[in-house]
């Protein structure tokens, strides 16, 4: 490894980490509020990306409007899934939500292959070219996408801190009963948070899909990544998801460049294992019992 | 030789000192009441002694230092406890709950259990007999096959005590055994506690129901803010103004 590769590694790792974090934050939000694991979270990511694909490539509509539209559609889908499937297992053993999530993976990824076709697709670009940052190359696309994901993370944080609904979400994830005593309709917060989490995944899908390519089966990999990050950072913790995402992005980038990709993925699992052994509730987690 | 002795026991959570340099001795065959206002550190004391919380200072059982042992090792030393909130294996039958409690004092080998050797079968039969004896003793003999979760609150508490008794303790630590009971249930619980002592088991008792405390305790220790503020016979405690003030609230002075 030569010295001048370090900026490239860091820059790549950071931008990757931010996007991972975006998927993971949605998952952590859903867990925090409902205490269920949405194992099919990655499918929202996939569907979001495909929506944008049809929006831009097929109907030729503007890109950023498409991202917003995708987020809204998946928000509604997430809310519907919560109401129809997940509300029924709320409060029951977490395994049941896991099983429903698995069912959703089967249905969406395979249904996606039938509806969208099995070919790999690419979402048209909104920018080309790039600049050198301290010796690391950054395409404009990547810069914009990183900025968007970073500002979404900040925006979500502000939303949760400042707005009435955001505070209600935090309150419900801390103590549903006391929240109800403040007049918060906890069931409503459930679907709002579920929709919001799904919408975040959809946005991540749009951004990642633009940067890379999309297939109907890409959701499960996203679920795995999100799950790794969320557990590493601590379930229900948004800073945890951010830090976890960046750790994973950095491992992917640095270890792949320095050693190789297969070592990188082994390493990321080892790191998660070690984090959990020394901090049994993740980096920022609380013990949910 | 004391059955239980703590020397300068201290428990801290973060910056808060829940138990502050508490030294306490309980003799054999004694029923000791542990009272104090809510948040005085009574349950924390139980948690520290039973090995659930880490503590500094020293805890001795019959002069053996047990500080730092894990809960299951402390039970093996003869110190059993119950919990403030009903804590049972709720989906088990009552009998099975008590049999689980008997596990500690009965022979068990993994391979024996797997293969179902005659010895294991003997053990299990003994175990069940023991468990039924204990259930009869606490007056639950007729409910052995009920699922614990389906019992009324008062009986669940009694099952909790039966489970603790099943480990054949020399000392039993009861955390609010009468909480949420009606007068009749409370009376039979007091009765049960006396009978347990009659079998030679010492008891430490946390209880809010003063009738119980005053009625059955030999000695009472009063805690407030993690320190001992009084100790003595029920009569002495009743007369102690510091206790009045701490326990009944400041308005007690005015009344």
């Amino acid at each position: 490894m030569s010295f001048d590769e370090i900026p490239q590694m860091l820059v790549t790792g950071l931008s990757l980490g931010l996007m991972y974090a975006l998927i993971a934050i949605g998952l952590t939000l859903i867990f925090g509020v409902m205490r269920i694991v949405q194992y099919g979270h990655g499918e929202m990511y996939m569907l979001g990306a495909f929506f944008l694909y049809y929006w831009t490539a097929k109907w030729g509509l503007p890109y950023w409007l498409g991202v917003a539209a995708s987020a809204s559609v998946i928000f509604v889908l997430g809310a519907i899934l919560q109401q129809t499937l997940f509300q029924a297992v709320h409060g029951r053993n977490i395994l049941y939500s896991l099983a429903i999530g698995m069912g959703l993976i089967f249905i969406f990824s395979s249904g996606g292959q039938i509806i969208f076709g099995t070919t790999v697709k690419g979402i048209p670009k909104f920018a080309t070219g790039g600049i050198l940052v301290m010796g690391g190359f950054l395409s404009y696309e990547r810069i914009v996408i990183s900025i968007v994901s970073a500002s979404l993370v900040v925006g979500l944080w502000l939303f949760l801190q400042k707005t009435r609904t955001g505070m209600a979400i935090r309150a419900v994830s801390e103590d549903p009963e006391t929240s109800a005593l403040q007049g918060i309709r906890t069931r409503q917060i459930h679907w709002v948070a579920f929709g919001l989490g799904s919408a975040l995944a959809a946005i991540a899908g749009c951004l990642m899909g633009t940067l890379l390519s999309i297939v109907p089966t890409m959701g499960f990999v996203a679920t795995i990544k999100a799950f790794m990050i969320v557990i590493m950072g601590g379930l229900g913790s948004i800073p945890g998801a951010l830090v976890g995402g960046i750790i994973l992005g950095m491992i992917d980038s640095v270890v792949t460049t320095v050693i190789s990709a297969d070592i990188a993925i082994i390493m990321s699992f080892v790191v998660i294992f070690l984090i959990l052994v020394f901090r049994p509730s993740g980096l920022f987690g609380q013990q949910w019992t | 030789m004391h059955l239980l002795e703590t020397r300068n026991l201290t428990v801290r959570f973060g910056g808060v000192t829940a138990i502050d340099n508490l030294s306490l001795t309980v003799g054999e065959g004694e029923i000791r009441g542990l009272i104090g206002p809510n948040g005085a550190g009574k349950t924390t004391f139980f948690n520290a002694v039973s090995g659930r919380y880490p503590s500094s200072g020293e805890i001795r059982v019959r002069d053996h230092v047990v500080s730092g042992l894990k809960p299951n090792e402390i039970v093996a030393q003869g110190l059993a406890r119950t919990f403030q909130h009903v804590t049972l294996f709720k989906s088990f039958s009552v009998l099975k709950n008590v049999m689980a409690g008997c596990h500690l004092r009965s022979g068990y080998s993994f391979w024996g259990a797997l293969l179902g050797t005659p010895r294991t079968r003997q053990n299990e039969a003994d175990n069940e007999r023991r468990a039924r004896e204990i259930l009869d003793f606490v007056g639950l003999g007729g409910l052995a096959d009920e699922t614990a979760a389906n019992l009324p609150h008062g009986l669940q508490r009694a099952v909790g005590i039966a489970v603790a008794l099943a480990s054949e303790p020399q000392m039993l630590m009861l955390d609010e055994p009468c909480a949420g009971m009606n007068t009749a249930e409370t009376r039979s619980m007091s009765d049960l506690i006396r009978r347990i002592r009659g079998n030679g088991t010492s008891i430490i008792l946390i209880e809010h129901d003063m009738k119980v405390i005053m009625g059955i305790c030999d000695q009472i220790t009063v805690l407030n803010f993690g320190t001992k503020i009084a100790e003595g016979s029920p009569e002495e405690i009743l007369r102690n103004t510091a206790v009045h003030k701490a326990y009944l609230g400041s308005a007690a002075d005015a009344s």
């Binding site: 007049g183 | 206002p37 809510n38 009606n182 803010f225 003030k245």
Partner: protein
Amino acid sequence: MLLEIRNIRVHYDKIEAVKGVSLQLGKGEIVTLIGANGAGKTSILKAISGLVRPSAGEILYDGADITRRSPSDIVARGISHVPEGRRMFKLMSVQDNLRLGAYLIRDSKVIAEGLAWVYEHFPILKQKCNQLAGQLSGGQQQMVAIGRAMMARPRVILMDEPSLGLAPIIVDEIAAIITTLKQSGLSIVLVEQNAHLALKLADRGFVLETGSVTLSGKSADLLGNPEVIRAYLGA
């Protein structure tokens, strides 16, 4: 009567925690429920605020039946509940906790007035308004809990064990606040183990034992009644 409870029963699975309790609360009145742990006091409050559904009986508020309303609806009608153990949102700031109390109020001016009221009555909270609620002392948390309930502009406050685990001096402070609340025209249902404190503050009292009212009357009468002292001290 502002709030009237008629013969309610509360079940947790098979356990009956409240066995037909009736009580009334007048405007500007403090009523206290006293009794040992597990007597059913908290269950009654939870039934009023909609956290548990009574299996029988009815709850009337301001003439309307609110027996099976959702908690948020009941809050909106003007009944706030200060739960046992204060139940802070520990990871949120004091100010956010207070704001959550005004969750159903959309008018920012009203919220600002509410905050001003709380800070006026609990000056210490103003200093600590940006601290996490979990870091406050017990007494300060109790102040936040009461302030949070007041933020909803209630007409009735249900208070569950406000003196729990607090030092005597702080208990005095809380007692003073309760008196202030009463003077400002609020009606209060006070659940307490500290019988002396409760009866000193309340107009009327109900003594509960295992889910039923065994004794009730004017506080002054109950204070002098040896039965109550017996219930508490067993002496």
